[in-house]
């Protein structure tokens, strides 16, 4: 097809040369100049024909037609910018959505972990496929006894304090087995990695391998860090190397800052204890030729052996395998399901977009039926006309596709950088690769063909004779077409999405200002963990007291409290079983309640802004030597003592039977989520039930962010090696709002997509009806119809569809908001603002969609129209 490069000019030159040579020869035979030339031409025959033959024989024709079709298509599209814009925008959105979703699919399902030969890398799941945990001795047995893997490695994620001599920071590490990097076939980027041969029992191999990102961010790519000494939770370690940039750990949802051998980190007791299941995940490459099922059977038999041999420590261990990267089915199944659902949705969006564009195209073809008929009458083949239409469709779809991919990859780049929870560094490489681009280009091409094919029948059935004679004839259709049903469904879905997203937005707005049982505004939480800084248990209370006192001296601070983990701070609050005072048998069946348990300092309630309803808070005298006391919330009081007034001064028993007196009652609050029902909670003095995990709760008069620096420096003044993480309370509540934020955002995005689709759908139907009935409308106008009547005739159907679809969608939306209220706090559709909002939004949408066709219907000049037709 591309072989011949010969130009038509070259061919002409050859013919010219031929005639000149022939004429010269004839002149030599004695003819006159003029006669010779004429004779030469005669002998040659028809020059034009030869040139035409050359032209047609060549593959020029193909390119030429394409080029001509292309120019024609571009000219036509320029002539109707409204149509072109709508069509390109629709496709850009649909294909952009598809490429983003496909990238997610690609990241989560197609190339889960960025390690060599990730296709044979599997993770172990124990007991019914939901938990991955093992103890260290059990891991060692599985590692050494199995015959199915090329080595089994394991890892465990832990948050630690890292002191590099300058700024103590908190960091995530993977405690791993010595063979971790070798099993995964990872080569160092810098320095060396550790191996099994480095391990010599507990406390050996105090080596750190940094992740590339951490090295880049915290050590400024300094190659000199290898050999550097640092402290992890106050224990000395040596940096021995840096992992390659593409390796970000083996769990997609959390990438570590560095890796250490588990034997160096855990103490001997933990390494030797067979009971317990605390190793996060065990992974390995299957040996060549071993199927996952065979490997699972092999491992299960080891599990049986371990259960028999150490019956006291081990339960049943049924092993199954899952692809590594998403922690088996626990995260894998919902994520896979979610991504698959998204992909389906994206495909439906694209399909609906194609259907809508198809009807737009049919409208255009109807508009041009006269032109098409004329071209047919003048001898153009139907194939040529179809080819022209397809060229136009492809120009639109490829342009839309290009814009879609561009927008999609910009969005993906933003998503990659976006880290919703700064405490949890995620590890999802969403960057689009070649396969994403290929899929998007293919989708663009296929959709072009799809919607380009809609008017094919129309063109094939065009009867040039009839149309040229009498103009386009329309049988006024009364029946409802499939296309109209499709558009009505789209409108209904769009209205549903718009309703739900408005409900969600309103709920979210409300939940930001609802009653949490405490007042998070103007509070800073400073998270310190004294274990990380190497404090022995008996030194903890004194340090906590000193920290509180130091905070109180900062100007602008009004109250300072301390808690092991304040409510809604995302730190994993705990519960404890309690018994009524009358219970003497402390067996699990007699547990009266499992309230939330908070270990707090005096002044906690003042700092948290939690109003005490009755009784008192704690003082520093509520210590080990004083009688045990507690402050409980309203629900606790009602549940155990029947009423608030009843509860004050009464006793209950803790999990170990200690009698505790209720000295205060505090308002109910939200503890683990914003949508939860009221639940029981108790607050214990931190001196009576100590905790080394310490959140300082610092309330100030003004914008608390200004105090962050002062708080950090005063903590570091007390102990330069204490890692501290500072956030405002509302910021740490983001964790709890994440679900509703995500739901709101995705509903919003889907609503926008739905709106765009509905607009093209209505636009298509309206445009089609206007162009089909142009003549009729012209006659009506000539007979004196008013603009209202013209519009009614032209757009009545489209408007009816819109009204019907919106009503259905609104109803569905009201039903759906019940489901929504489980994700978004206080989501309700019984909200006049939501209802008017939806109606307004749908009306606006209708206005936008019918604007161009309405303009066209109104600008009909009956005189011109009737003369033309």
């Amino acid at each position: 097809m591309f072989r011949r490069k010969r130009k038509a000019g070259d061919f002409s030159a050859e013919i010219e040369a031929h005639i000149r040579l022939e004429a010269e020869r004839l002149r030599e035979q004695g003819l006159s100049e003029k006669d010779a030339r004429a004779a030469a031409r005669r002998a040659f025959g028809n020059v034009t024909r030869a040139q035409e033959q050359f032209y047609e024989s060549g593959r020029w024709l193909w390119w030429d037609y394409l080029w001509r079709d292309l120019r024609f298509a571009l000219r036509l599209l320029r002539k109707s910018p409204g149509f072109s814009f709508v069509a390109v925008a629709t496709l850009a959105v649909a294909i952009g959505a598809n490429s983003v979703v496909f990238s997610a699919l690609n990241a989560f399902l197609l190339r889960p972990l960025n390690v060599p030969q990730s296709e044979s890398l599997y993770g172990l799941q124990f007991g019914g496929g939901h938990r991955g945990a093992l103890s260290y001795p059990n891991y060692v047995d599985f590692r050494d006894r199995n015959r199915s893997f090329d080595g089994l490695a394991m890892y465990q994620m832990t948050r630690v304090g890292l002191d590099t001599g300058r700024n103590p920071t908190r960091a995530w590490l993977y405690e791993v087995s010595g063979n971790y990097f070798d099993v995964l076939k990872i080569q160092p980027y810098l320095g060396r990695l550790f191996h099994s041969s480095d391990e010599h029992g507990a406390g050996s191999a105090p080596y750190i391998v940094l992740s590339y990102a951490y090295w880049h961010g915290h050590f400024q790519d300094d190659a000199g860090v290898v050999g550097h000494r640092v402290e992890v939770n106050k224990r000395p370690y040596t940096i021995i190397g840096v992992a390659p940039p593409e390796f970000r750990g083996t769990f997609l949802l959390l990438s570590p800052d560095f890796f250490v051998p588990m034997v160096s980190f855990e103490d001997e007791n933990d390494l030797n204890r067979r009971a317990g299941r605390w190793i996060f995940e065990t992974i390995g490459h299957l040996k060549a030729g071993v199927t996952p099922a065979q490997a699972a059977a092999d491992l299960s038999s080891i599990g049986d052996y371990l259960q028999k041999t150490y019956a006291k420590d081990n339960g049943k261990m049924n092993v199954s395998l899952s692809r590594a990267g998403l922690y088996g089915d626990t995260f894998g199944r919902p994520i896979r399901g979610f991504v698959a659902a998204l992909m389906l949705l994206a495909a439906l969006i694209l399909l609906a977009a194609c259907a809508n564009l198809g009807s737009l195209f049919a409208a255009r073809a109807a508009d041009r039926s006269r032109e098409i008929a004329l071209r047919l009458a003048l001898g153009s083949s139907r194939l040529r006309i179809l080819r022209q239409l397809f060229t136009e469709a492809l120009v639109i779809s490829l342009t839309g596709g290009a814009i879609g991919i561009l927008g999609g990859s910009l969005l993906l780049r933003r998503l990659m950088v976006w880290n919703p929870f700064p405490q949890f560094p995620t590890n999802v490489p969403l960057n689009p690769d070649a396969s994403v681009y290929a899929v998007a280009a293919l989708l663009a091409f296929v959709s072009g063909i799809l919607f380009g094919a809609v008017p094919v029948k129309q063109v094939l059935h065009t009867d040039p004779y009839e149309i040229v004679k009498s103009g386009s004839v329309t049988k006024a259709g009364r029946r409802i077409t499939f296309r109209e049903v499709l558009v009505a469904v789209q409108i209904a879905i769009c209205a549903l999405l718009v309703t739900s997203s408005m409900v969600a937005v309103r709920g979210l707005m409300r939940s930001l200002h609802s009653n949490f049982g405490f007042e998070p505004d103007d509070v800073i939480l400073a998270d310190t963990d004294l274990t990380m800084a190497g404090y022995p248990d008996n030194a903890v209370p004194a340090m906590q007291k000193r920290m509180i006192e130091t905070m109180q001296t900062i100007p602008g601070v009004t109250a300072v409290g301390l808690a092991n983990c304040p409510p809604l701070a995302g730190c994993g609050a705990s519960r404890a079983d309690i018994f009524t005072d009358a219970t003497s048998d402390l067996s699990p069946s007699n547990v009266a309640a499992s309230p939330m348990m908070y270990q707090i300092s005096p002044e906690f309630f003042a700092a948290a802004g939690a109003p005490l309803l009755a009784g008192r808070g704690f003082t520093w005298h509520d210590d080990k030597n004083a009688p045990r006391v507690a402050v409980i919330n309203e629900t606790f009081a009602r549940k155990i003592f029947g009423s608030q007034t009843n509860a004050l001064g009464r006793y209950y028993k803790s999990w170990n039977g200690t009698r505790i007196q209720v000295v205060g009652i505090v308002q109910d609050g939200k503890y683990t989520s914003l949508t939860e029902e009221p639940q029981a909670a108790m607050f214990l003095p931190i001196l009576q039930s100590p905790s080394s995990q310490s959140f300082l709760i610092v309330r100030s008069e003004s914008d608390p962010r200004q105090l962050a620096g002062a708080i950090r420096s005063s903590v570091l003044e007390l102990d330069a090696g204490l890692p501290v993480f500072i956030q405002t309370w509302p910021e740490s509540m983001d964790f709890f709002l994440f679900g509703s934020r995500m739901a709101t955002a995705s509903l919003g995005v889907l609503g926008a997509l739905g709106a765009i689709l509905s607009i093209t759908g209505i636009f298509g139907i309206a445009a089609y009806s206007v162009s089909k009935r142009l003549r009729e409308l012209g006659i009506r106008m000539a007979l004196g119809a008013q603009w209202k009547e013209v519009l009614g005739a032209a757009l009545g159907r489209a408007v009816k569809l819109l009204a019907f679809g919106s009503a259905a969608g609104l109803l569905l939306g009201i039903l759906a908001s019940r489901v929504l209220s489980s994700i978004v706090y206080q989501a309700t559709s019984r909200d006049p603002l939501v209802l008017t909002g939806v109606v307004l939004a749908m009306a606006l949408l209708g206005l936008v969609a019918t604007w161009i066709p309405a303009q066209r219907a109104l600008s009909i000049d009956p005189a011109i129209l009737l003369r033309e037709e």
């Binding site: 040369a17 031929h18 040579l21």
Partner: protein, 116 residues
């Protein structure tokens, strides 16, 4: 049936011109006008080649790689496009010549038997 016959005849005729061109080029490169002249002269003016019809044939042969072309100057110092036989073309000429001779002989035999 009849369309097939038509097709064969057409190919035969086309093939003939191709064969003559290849044969002419065996003596060395020639430009288009030279080829037309040579065919006319060698056939004792029996064959009248329409010069214009020569070019599609040349085009075709060139595309198939049997002849190659480049611009040069003729004996009387005129620019012209010279065609020469390629190795593939030489092979093709042998095949075509053989085929043509067999065809001519066969047709000749049929015509003679009918005549006798």
């Amino acid at each position: 049936m009849s369309t097939q016959e038509d097709k064969e005849r057409l190919e035969l005729l086309q093939g003939t011109l191709d064969l003559l061109i290849l044969r002419t080029l065996i003596f060395g490169p020639h430009h288009g006008q030279g080829i037309a002249r040579a065919i006319q002269q060698t056939s004792d003016e029996e064959l009248l080649v329409e010069h214009g019809a020569l070019y599609p044939a040349l085009q075709r042969l060139e595309e198939r790689g049997w002849i190659s072309a480049k611009w040069g100057t003729s004996s009387n110092n005129r620019k012209a496009r010279f065609y020469s036989l390629t190795a593939a073309g030489r092979k093709q000429l042998g095949k075509e010549t053989n085929k043509w001779k067999r065809l001519a002989a066969a047709i000749g035999r049929i015509l003679e038997s009918e005549g006798g």
